[in-house]
Structures are given as C-alpha cells and as structure tokens.
C-alpha cells in the first residue's frame, strides 16, 4: 500500500501537478467557488421572489396559501442545491489549499469532493429524468382515461 501511494520511486511515474496544471486548477477553483457561493445565495433570492408578489395581494389567507406551496418546493430544491454545492465549495477550498501548501492530503480531499459533486449531480439527473418520464406516463394515462369517459 505504501509502495502504491508514497514511495518516491513510484512518484517518478505518477502524473504531476506541474506549472500548467497548477494554473488551470487555480482558475478552476476560483470559478468553482464563485458558482458555489452564487448557489448558496440563490435560495434566499427565490424565497424573496415568492414573498414579495404574495404580500402585494394583501389577503392573509391568500398569502399563506401561496407561500405554503411555494416555500415547500423551494425548500426541497434549496436543500439539495446547498448539499451539492457544499461538495463543490469543499473541492475548491481543498484544492486551492493544496496548491498553496503542496499538501497531498488536501489535494486528495479535493479530488474526493469533486467525485462526490459529479456523482450527486449525476444521480440528481437520473432522478429528475425518472420523475419526468413518470409524469409523462401519468399524463398519458389521464388523457386516455379522459378520452375513454367522453366516448
């Protein structure tokens, strides 16, 4: 195991983070951090966007009804988005730290967080597509039942 990861002889044959890859990684971490921070801010903007039009209606029952439905949806999306972007933020900070301190441990931590970020994003895409297919299937059944009842 030691031979696999830490041996200096082995290091000579490993891929290096040379000057070019270092510069590329620095830009990647800078933009990854911006994306993650914006993703942390956007749920708050979404909540404000729901509250302002609802409060303009003036009717307390209407406000409660409008906010209840929308906020549950926003909350679910926000939690998923925040968890996803925590991985992206951790990838950015760990990798940037490793480039500054030349810490192999931080670099590996960053690589692990990048893996988790892409994995979670991939799983979310599969879930979203499955839900979309299910929704289309239910709609087709509903249309079929509706057409059958009319005839």
């Amino acid at each position: 195991m030691e031979q696999q990861s830490n041996s200096p002889i082995n290091n000579l044959f490993d891929l290096q983070i040379n000057e070019e890859s270092k510069q590329l990684l620095l830009t990647i971490t800078k933009w990854a951090r911006i994306i993650a921070i914006l993703a942390f801010i956007s749920p708050a903007i979404s909540v404000i966007k729901v509250i302002i039009p609802a409060s303009r209606t003036g009717n307390a029952d209407m406000i409660g009804y409008q906010l209840g439905g929308s906020i549950v949806g926003i909350l679910v999306v926000s939690i998923v988005s925040i968890i996803l972007n925590v991985f992206l933020y951790r990838f950015a900070t760990s990798t940037a730290e490793s480039l500054q301190t030349m810490s192999q441990e931080s670099f590996n931590k960053g690589a692990n967080n990048m893996r988790l970020y892409f994995k979670m994003l991939g799983i979310l895409i599969i879930v979203a597509l499955s839900l979309a297919v299910l929704f289309i299937f239910i709609m087709l059944i509903a249309v079929g039942i509706g057409a059958g009842m009319r005839s």
Partner: protein, 146 residues
C-alpha cells in the same frame, strides 16, 4: 534532469488515491456531459417547434393588438432561452472532453492529456460561472419593482 527528478518528490501528484477519486469523478462527469448534450438537443428541437408555431400565430393574429403583444413576449422569451441552450450544449461538450482526456491521462500516465482534460474542465467552470452570474443578476432584477 536530476533536478527535475528531485522536484517531482516535492510536487503534488495524482497518486493512487487521487487517481481513484478522479477516475470515478470523470465517469460521472462523462455521464453528465452526455446528458447535457442530449437534453439540450431535445430542448433546441422543442424551441424550434415553439418558434415555428409562434410565427404561425403571429401572422394569424396581426390585427389583434393584445394577442400580438403576448406573441412578441413569447418570441423574446424564446430568444433569451436560445443562448442558454447553446451555452449548456457547449458546456456538455467540454465536460465530456474533460472526462475522456482526463481518464486517458490517468490510465496512460500521459501528462499532456491530463492537462487537456483540466483545460476543458476550466472552460466548463468558466461558462457555468458566467451563466450562474447572469442567472443571479436576472433574478435580482426581477426583484426591483417597476
């Protein structure tokens, strides 16, 4: 040459652990890239159909002022969506390129392919970052009461 070998001992490396993480990461990145390409192609097709349908409605409802206004608004919405779809399509291609080049680099210990993969990832993050900034600015502008 000896100096270079000495340097590698103190440089960061894609060691066994990082390589394993990166390999699994690029597998998922490749899947996401393919999905982005396919989904944006479908979205472009849907937008094209919507555009043709709206063009038909526009010529039919030229005399009706209100209808013409809503058709114009729909046209603008589609026009705003087109750069978004193109951006996502290009992003998908970059993510796919990152995955293939990076995997090639790790498997063959090829520094050039690995750096080419990182370059594609950098382009993807820059594009995604610009789209995120535009999206956030758009959301903030919607909050301003007119």
């Amino acid at each position: 040459m000896e100096q270079q070998s000495q340097d590698t001992l103190f440089e960061l490396q894609v060691d066994y652990e990082a390589g394993a993480h990166l390999k699994e990461g690029v597998k998922w990145a490749q899947f996401i890239g393919i999905m982005l390409i396919v989904l944006t192609a479908i979205a472009a097709f849907v937008l094209l159909i919507a555009f043709i349908a709206l063009a038909g409605v526009s010529t039919f409802s030229q005399g009706i002022r209100e209808s013409a206004f809503s058709t114009n608004a729909s046209f603008i919405s589609i026009m705003l969506l087109i750069p978004m779809v193109i951006g996502m399509f290009i992003g998908g291609i970059w993510l796919f390129r990152f995955a293939t080049r990076c995997r090639q680099g790790i498997n063959n210990q090829d520094q050039q392919s690995f750096n080419a993969g990182l370059m594609a990832l950098r382009n993807y993050f820059i594009l995604y970052g610009i789209l995120s900034i535009l999206g956030t600015v758009g959301s903030l502008l919607q909050l301003i009461p007119f």
